[in-house]
């Protein structure tokens, strides 16, 4: 089977960048990662057809292997449509998440944290609050409600620090 080297390289780069982006906490970047990976997959399926050939319309006197294999393109079209719908849905979810919580991040599961706190598990590397703010719109007006939500990053850090020291105190009290 003949493979187009350019397509192969592009596919590899798309997968690599896509996976890197998916590992981020910011949802928008995760979405970009998904888009890249899905297009990488599309390229992969495209390549399974092999070298380009004659259009697959039956003609007399043409051997079967001279035609182009049309099936991967049929699969590809379906895959594109599905990926398109999913990306649109993800975008809606991200927008909703931003409208509701003003954040563009994957948050920790509350029950997980509760269970972790109940057994006193605290790993500073994993659980320490990091006051990062990925949204640039944090101090702007919300078009839906008209309210302005201003959060000073230093204040967020201070809040987080208070919470964690409280948890440590509780732990100390128990022991």
């Amino acid at each position: 089977m003949t493979i187009n080297l350019t397509l192969l390289l592009v596919m590899g780069v798309m997968f690599a960048v896509g996976i890197y982006l998916m590992l981020e906490r910011s949802l928008t970047r995760v979405l970009l990662g998904i888009i890249l990976i899905s297009n990488g997959v599309n390229l992969l399926i495209l390549q399974t057809a092999g070298r380009a050939g004659l259009s697959p319309l039956v003609r007399d006197g043409v051997a079967a292997d001279e035609y182009f294999d049309p099936l991967p393109q049929a699969l590809l079209l379906t895959a594109i449509v599905i990926a398109f719908a999913l990306v649109a849905f993800m975008l809606a979810l991200i927008y909703r998440s931003w409208v509701l919580a003003r954040q563009d991040e994957v948050t920790d599961d509350e029950e997980d944290r509760r269970v972790a706190a109940a057994v006193g598990a605290y790993d500073p590397e994993e659980d320490a609050e990091v006051g990062t703010e990925t949204s640039e719109f944090i101090d702007t007006m919300d078009p839906a409600t008209g309210s302005i939500r201003a959060v000073d990053p230093a204040e967020r850090n201070a809040e987080a620090g208070a919470e964690s020291s409280e948890a440590e105190q509780r732990k100390a009290g128990e022991s």
């Binding site: 992969l44 399926i45 399974t48 991967p72 699969l75 599905i82 849905f89 993800m90 919580a101 599961d109």
Partner: protein, 583 residues
């Protein structure tokens, strides 16, 4: 060929789709929507029961859509296993739908949103699941997965509240990733074999290099493993499922992971038979069981605890699959059907508990057995069933798997048998804790009880039952409990059926013949039979320690009576069992 009832197989997918379209057309009128949805599902259930009755004796059958012969066209294949899964899944979805109608999940007030989409989306979910069960080629399987996953994204984030969006994002991203992996594998399979038809791949994959085979095999398993929530790939599940409305969680827990398991079993038996990675699968199965159930013990919320037991019991299914013997596979098929029912029932009951008590956190529950004995019974039976207490169906399924493990008699299967016993006991501990805290202790003993549980008198509390536990919700739940009991009562015939299904799957000739036609299979029949007998099935489970370790002859023992063509029928088993009973 004269028209035959089995030719109506595609209707199992099309009916819900048309139903969804009509339900969507009447989005302004909830009553019409309900009537259309319930009507569609009832017709689907009847159709599928008829199909199962046909398949029960005749075995696998393929329908080539639009008359294009396989492997060029799209074929839908129904065999004993998929027919059973279809019937169980539609009965479950119908019961959950009735429950949802009772609860008014579609018109939830507190999370107001685009509620008119609940019923159409639900039907699309059913169509997708049916499509995945019937798919005769890998790409159609992928499309089936995408149909029901997309519907599940909508159902999970229904209403769009903050918690559900947060849970939904995790779920959607993980599901998309697993779908991408699946799609990559399809591309690679096509590049390697030049076909996506399952039966055709089954014949061609053997010619490939061993390394390539192994890569395709493992990639498929990883893609399905994420969907089925097998141990290292399961952590998305407990974070996302419990946030959805009770009926939605119930149908997700019952069906979606089982479709992943179905796909694993199908590809494992049809495309990559053999014992190549069985040891790895068994290690994964043991870890799934143990880690899942330990997670369940740490939870206080009933829904989350049940989500963890769901993961844990997926381990049993992987164990049965990894045994690669008819006895193990028969138990797995039986256990899948049992587990779909039981897990759905438990989530529905949890929905009732949450409704009656205002919380599903066991630390805040108490005295429910006194307040509502009906609820207590509805919880107790499936809970004991989940833990595998005899004589319930969970016990029968687990017993079958352990017998398979003991018959194989290697260190890893013995480890698995020990692990499954331990998991069973820990499951009992987990559900017993819910029982002891939520139902058995007095409401006064609870430290911080829900206010609704503390009533002036028993009469007051019982009066509230009527309002909080309407018959329209209790009845479907009770019906599912009855269904789970029916699995126990009908364990004999069902086990025989599962065994016939398992034998069909390992022999592979019935499936291949149905799809590709007899002539095509004849050329390789010898090889297939040889492979089946030489490699996979421990045809004679009587020796190799089985007599020593499992001397009791039960109806689970496989009777290997295969006729010349390699096909079997249920009747022979029945006859054999009857004779065994008379001896």
């Amino acid at each position: 060929m004269e028209p035959n009832l089995i030719e109506f197989v595609p209707l199992a997918v099309l009916l819900p789709f048309f139903g969804a379209a009509f339900a969507f057309a009447f989005y302004r009128n909830q009553a019409t929507q309900k009537a259309i949805t319930i009507g569609t599902l009832i017709i689907t259930v009847i159709l599928e029961i008829v199909l199962l009755a046909e398949i029960w004796h005749s075995g696998a059958h393929a329908v080539n859509l639009a008359g294009w012969p396989a492997p060029f066209g799209i074929s839908m294949v129904i065999d004993r296993f998929s027919a059973l899964m279809l019937v169980v899944s539609s009965i479950i979805t119908l019961a959950v739908l009735l429950y949802a109608v009772g609860q008014g999940a579609a018109e939830e007030k507190n999370d107001a949103g685009p509620v008119s989409i609940f019923y159409p989306t639900y039907l699309i979910l059913v169509a997708g699941v049916s499509n995945a069960f019937l798919a005769g080629d890998l790409f159609n399987l992928y499309v089936g997965f995408e149909i029901f996953l997309t519907a599940s994204y909508v159902l999970l984030t229904l209403g769009g509240g903050e918690v559900r969006i947060r849970a939904g994002v995790t779920y959607v991203v993980v599901s998309i990733l697993s779908s991408m992996l699946f799609l990559i594998t399809i591309g690679l399979v096509y590049a390697a074999t030049g076909t996506v038809n399952l039966a055709d791949i089954a014949l061609k994959v053997g010619e490939l290099d061993h390394g390539v085979q192994l890569m395709l095999h493992v990639m498929l398993l990883v893609a399905f493993g994420i969907k089925a929530a097998v141990f290292p790939l399961a952590f998305w599940l407990p974070d996302s499922y419990p946030t959805a409305p009770a009926p939605v969680t119930a149908v997700f827990a019952g069906l979606l992971t089982k479709v992943g398991i179905y796909a694993m079993i199908r590809t494992e038996t049809l495309l990559f038979p053999g014992e190549r990675i069985n040891t790895a699968l068994m290690i994964v199965a043991a870890l799934t069981m143990i880690v899942g159930i330990l997670g369940a013990l740490a939870q206080a919320d009933i829904k989350r605890m049940l989500s963890f037991t769901l993961i844990s019991h997926i381990g049993y299914l992987v164990f049965g699959l990894a045994l690669s013997s008819i006895i193990g596979m028969a138990a797995t098929i039986y256990y899948v059907a049992h587990h779909i029912t039981i897990q759905t029932t438990l989530f529905l009951v949890t929905g009732l508990i949450e409704r009656r008590a205002g919380s599903s956190n066991v630390d805040r529950l108490g005295g429910l057995a006194r307040i509502s004995p009906v609820l207590a019974v509805l919880f107790f039976i499936p809970a004991m069933n989940l833990a595998g207490i005899p004589p319930f169906s969970g016990f029968v399924g687990k017993l079958g798997m352990m017998q398979g493990g003991i018959a194989e008699n290697t260190w890893i299967t013995w480890t698995l048998v020990v692990a499954s016993v331990a998991t069973s006991l820990l499951t009992l501990l987990a559900v017993a804790r819910i029982w002891a805290r939520g139902f058995w202790r007095k409401a006064e003993d609870v430290e911080n009880p829900e206010r609704i549980l503390v009533q002036k008198s028993l009469a007051h509390a019982r009066a509230a039952n009527k309002r909080l536990l309407p018959a329209t919700m209790v009845a479907p739940t009770a019906a599912l409990v009855a269904l789970s009991l029916a699995f126990t009562v009908l364990a004999g015939p069902l086990m025989n059926f599962s065994r016939a299904a398992a034998q069909d799957m390992y022999e592979r000739t019935p499936y291949l013949e149905a799809v590709l036609g007899e002539e095509r299979v004849d050329s390789v029949r010898e090889d297939l039979l040889e492979f089946t007998q030489g490699h996979i099935i421990d045809l004679d489970t009587g020796d190799d320690g089985a007599d020593e370790f499992a001397p009791v002859r039960t109806s689970l023992q496989p009777d290997m009576e295969t006729d010349v063509k390699g096909s079997t029928s249920v009747d022979e088993y029945d006859a054999a069992v009857d004779q065994g009973g008379q001896d």
